[in-house]
Subunit: 294 residues, 2 copies
């Protein structure tokens, strides 16, 4: 049985922020998620990637205890995204998206992948997410989604929501999907739509979690120089589920997600995230606890 | 010596929100501030108001231990504001502003007002704020401001910033005044511009505080139905300074501000704020502590 099984995109990004620009940077939701979760736990990846993607990154993930049997390396181009984060704007402007091999991706998890403690369905079409959810025996299923699926694939998304345990979603998308205004009313409304736990990501303002049993909220860890926000949400989910797989409570998982993603944004790509130690996360958790104490 | 001396607007508001509408509602920064601060402390008010403003509200504040000697009640019209909060938008759309008597307001604090522990300079022209700051002997001076003064009276504002101890400011205005992007970099930048403590109000995401000595941040108390956001920021400042005047630490003052303003937004005008007890605030602080604990 796997500890965490995750599906998502593996990408090469061209990113520009007020701090500079990077081309062909290692990225994609699955890569950010896996670096974050593998600080705490073993991650089995399901994805597809072209030979243009640096093999060292895949080897590095294997060295961290990740299982890459489910990653197909094929002839052709990897998913590519190019975007600009402008000063004063929370969301990036997308300049280009080239789906490449990811466009026709039909996940075929290997036989060893059919059972997992935690299943993470990264941002993909709800029908692909649902087919994987059905194929893979799991204790906890978590998912992310985005405006594209909320607008164009609402019916499938609602069917999926009824089957997952944890929904990660950003504030704007939470409002869009729930029809409510404000992250708190949106969070509670989404809770009625199926998931046992809803986590609304609020960017630099942190995250809000509600479930039948608890309400938990934390500000973001204060980062003075957000060099590159790419992957913050994916590494938040990775830290969160990594902690959960170690038996931590939801409130602690939320804090770990926030601590891990605070490292991600301090550098381009996975430059900082890929070197974060458990001890460094603990250090940031201690500081976060001091910041919210009164 | 006064405990808290506050200056600001006393207004009648026409407010529309997704929960309904209210006309001639008691409002204005000074009224919200004073109701909040007087949960904990004695407040001396400096303001001007017309005879169209309900005298019961002024009497009610006196009953709470407020000193209204500095409030001029004059022939003429009170400051009036009309605005709409639309679903999904954090800021209201202003429909009308009629300055009335407030337009020519020249604060003349009575002799008994010349010394105070805490001086609160609500959102007024920086030159009026500065003249009051010079007239009134104080231990701690706190101020608020808004986009109008940042855009049109920057020089006076910068001079004032060098003389105050605490700046309350919302996220967008903090970015505008500092030239930084994000509430955390903006907060640190503003700290270099004079105040010992900067508190950035983040709306439904809470507040972030930085000073030379501490960093403190809390999410907003989760309110499921934000009936009317008017006065949230002013009652936050009132709760904050009320707690500070009782000798509480900055981190506790931040929490009290958040707890008090969570009541304000649960009803129109001061309907809920005006009935909040110290015990109710304590109850919400306990819940807030549970929400951020991990």
């Amino acid at each position: 049985m796997k500890e965490i099984l995750a599906i998502g995109s593996i990408a090469l990004d061209d990113v520009e922020t007020p701090y500079g620009r990077r081309e062909n940077a290692v990225g994609g939701s699955l890569i950010y998620f896996s670096y974050a979760a593998s600080i705490f736990s073993k991650v089995a990846l399901v994805g597809v990637v072209g030979k243009d993607f640096p093999q060292e990154t895949l080897k590095d993930l294997e060295k961290r205890g990740c299982d890459l049997e489910g990653v197909e390396v094929k002839e052709g181009l990897s998913f590519r995204w190019a975007g600009v984060y402008r000063k004063g704007e929370e969301d990036p402007q997308t300049l280009r998206t080239q789906l490449g091999l990811f466009g026709s991706f039909q996940p075929e998890p290997p036989a060893s992948y059919l059972k997992t403690k935690i299943l993470y369905l990264g941002n993909l079409s709800p029908s692909l997410q649902l087919s994987l959810l059905k194929k893979i025996d799991h204790e906890i299923a978590a998912m992310d989604t985005m405006n594209h699926w909320i607008e164009g694939h609402r019916k499938e998304l609602l069917a999926l929501l009824e089957k997952v345990n944890i929904l990660f979603i950003n504030r704007r998308e939470a409002e869009m999907l729930s029809g409510e205004s404000g992250s708190v009313p949106a969070c509670y409304k989404l809770l009625e739509m199926g998931p046992e736990t809803v986590v609304v990501k609020r960017g630099e303002s942190g995250a809000f979690l509600c479930s039948q049993r608890i309400v938990s909220a934390l500000p973001a860890y204060p980062v003075r120089e957000v060099v590159d926000p790419t992957g913050a949400g994916d590494s938040f989910a990775g830290g969160f589920l990594g902690a959960l797989s170690r038996g931590e409570a939801l409130s602690k998982a939320l804090a770990v997600g926030i601590a891990v993603s605070s490292f991600t944004v301090e550098a381009f790509s996975v430059d900082r995230l890929s070197t974060v130690s458990k001890e460094e996360v603990e250090g940031r958790l201690r500081k976060l606890r001091a910041i919210v104490s009164f």
